[in-house]
């Protein structure tokens, strides 16, 4: 559900873009200021609040016991859920946002999963019977664009600080989630032929196309997703990948130091 943006505002954003500028003063390839606050929710096994510009997201992880999938009997499970509830934006009508929320959660999930960030085999307690279930729940409190990256960053920050509550189930001491990689997504939009990193809500509403690139700490691609009804040229994609390597490293620094 694109928001309706007045024609004048659209023209303004396009004119700025033509000169390499943006309404909030950033350069086209620049990420917004970001803050990460961890362990904000006592009932969660890990949590993080991410503010990316005015976008405000809260992520919590619950880790519980469950039965594994029959075709992966020796692996823990990851379930990622994101809800776009109306508190975050007046246009977030639950029915109409369903498709968008599903895509968002699946792209976040794919980044975590495909990077093999979590060692799922270490979350198996008894093969075929009992494994740790990792429920990653993402809640959007305030929306000003780029939920893809805010949600991924919040998820990564949450997972890196999470502890498996083994002692509560008489299964030894609590331990940190067994993690290796730290995937980071970066999202770009295309407006009038100009590629912009980390779009605001207004930029998203004007954008022709969207591209999310999720990379690992080695600079390798782990997931990509093109969205919206516009298109990209190949060169635009490779340029985005280059930016993504650089930006991803900065973001990783913020998470590690957070």
């Amino acid at each position: 559900m694109k928001e309706i943006i007045p024609e004048l505002k659209i023209e303004h954003i396009k004119r700025l873009a033509a000169g390499g500028n943006r309404a909030d003063g950033r350069s086209l390839g620049q990420f917004r200021e970001m803050s990460i606050e961890r362990d904000v929710i006592g009932t969660a096994e890990g949590s993080a609040r991410v503010k990316l510009g005015k976008t405000d997201i809260l992520v919590g992880v619950k880790i519980e016991l469950g039965a594994p999938y029959p075709n992966h009997p020796d692996e823990g499970m990851l379930k990622t859920t994101l809800e776009l509830r109306q508190i975050a934006h007046h246009s977030f009508d639950p029915g109409q946002m369903k498709n968008r929320a599903i895509e968002l959660s699946r792209v976040v999930d794919r980044g975590v999963r495909e990077s093999r960030m979590i060692d799922m085999k270490k979350l198996c307690i008894e093969p075929g019977k009992k494994v740790w279930m990792v429920y990653l729940d993402i809640q959007v409190l305030d929306y000003d664009g780029n939920l893809f990256d805010a949600a991924t960053i919040g998820s990564i920050a949450t997972l890196t600080g999470a502890r498996v509550p083994a002692s509560a189930f008489g299964l030894g001491e609590d331990f940190p989630l067994p993690l290796s990689e730290m995937p980071i997504s970066t999202t770009f939009v295309k407006i009038d032929g100009h590629i912009m990193l980390d779009p605001t809500a207004t930029e998203e509403a004007v954008a022709d196309a969207r591209l999310t690139v999720t990379m690992d700490s080695q600079g390798n691609l782990r997931a990509m997703q093109k969205g919206l009804s516009g298109a990209f040229y190949y060169e635009e994609i490779t340029t985005a990948i280059e930016n993504s390597i650089k930006t991803g490293n900065s973001i990783r620094e913020i998470i590690r130091s957070g």
């Binding site: 009932t43 969660a44 509830r85 508190i87 007046h90 429920y135 000003d144």
Partner: protein, 259 residues
């Protein structure tokens, strides 16, 4: 579980509170960008975010009221807000709480100024630890004021209950789980009206009287915290703060300033 003692020999509860002590309460108004009004409350371990949108046109139209605004409250628990993960989607408990908070707010909103519109209140329980409906209602009326919606008064809300046979204020999680009674009250200081009232457990009529009185006193205190939160949000009016009689007027003035 029945042999856990919730009050020790010195009359202290497990977290050290006296019977008529509230948990720590912190309220902040104006914490979200998109919402027309908002408030965040920490009440003990409860963490609740409230956003208000409106008045805006009602959709679908058959819900419109020709003479007034309707108030639609959505009280929702985050999946991670409780010990055992809550599945997404509104359950029956959330549905009932949404209804009773909605009815409480309808009483204080001067809703005939906005016929055919809806005022939507989203109460997101981020961490729950007993007393969320009271904390949610308390924050919701602050968020309404922050949105500049004219209200008769702020509604503070607090529960009293019974543990170990004794009437106490503001049950926490363990007290709520194994206590004997709970009485959440929403009280309008300006009019003395009770806009939210539920009870379950076991009270003699005398115990009810004592518990109600305790909850009402607490509401008067919480009302101050609500006003302070709004004053902190709109510091230009800070000078008016001492004039208790005009507190509600201040809220309306604040509204003007925030628009």
């Amino acid at each position: 579980m029945e042999d856990i003692k919730l009050i020790d020999d010195e009359g202290k509860r497990k977290d050290g509170r006296a019977p008529d002590d509230l948990r720590d309460i912190r309220i902040k108004a104006g914490v979200l960008q998109n919402a027309d009004g908002s408030a965040y409350i920490e009440w003990g371990k409860n963490k609740i975010m409230v956003g208000v949108y409106g008045p805006r046109e009602v959709f679908p139209k058959h819900l419109q009221r020709p003479d007034r605004a309707i108030v639609q409250v959505n009280y929702s628990m985050s999946a991670f807000s409780v010990d055992q993960r809550k599945k997404p989607g509104q359950g029956r408990r959330e549905n009932e709480i949404s209804k009773i908070i909605s009815e409480a707010l309808e009483k204080i909103i001067i809703s005939n100024q906005f016929p055919r519109t809806s005022i939507d209140v989203f109460i997101e329980v981020l961490e729950a630890s007993a007393g969320t409906r009271c904390a949610g209602l308390t924050a919701a009326s602050v968020a309404l004021a922050d949105a500049g919606i004219p209200i008769i008064d702020l509604v503070p809300s607090c529960a009293a209950g019974k543990i170990d046979g004794q009437i106490v204020l503001d049950l926490d999680k363990i007290e709520d789980n194994i206590g004997e009674a709970d009485l959440p009250v929403g009280y309008v200081p300006k009019t003395g009206e009770v806009v939210l009232l539920q009870m379950d457990g076991h009270f003699t009529p005398e115990e009810f009287e004592k518990a109600f009185g305790m909850a009402k006193e607490a509401c008067l205190h919480i009302h101050k915290l609500q006003r302070e939160a709004l004053i902190a949000r709109y510091p230009l009016e800070a000078g008016d703060e001492n004039d208790g009689e005009n507190a509600d007027g201040n809220v309306d003035d604040n509204r003007g300033a925030s628009q």
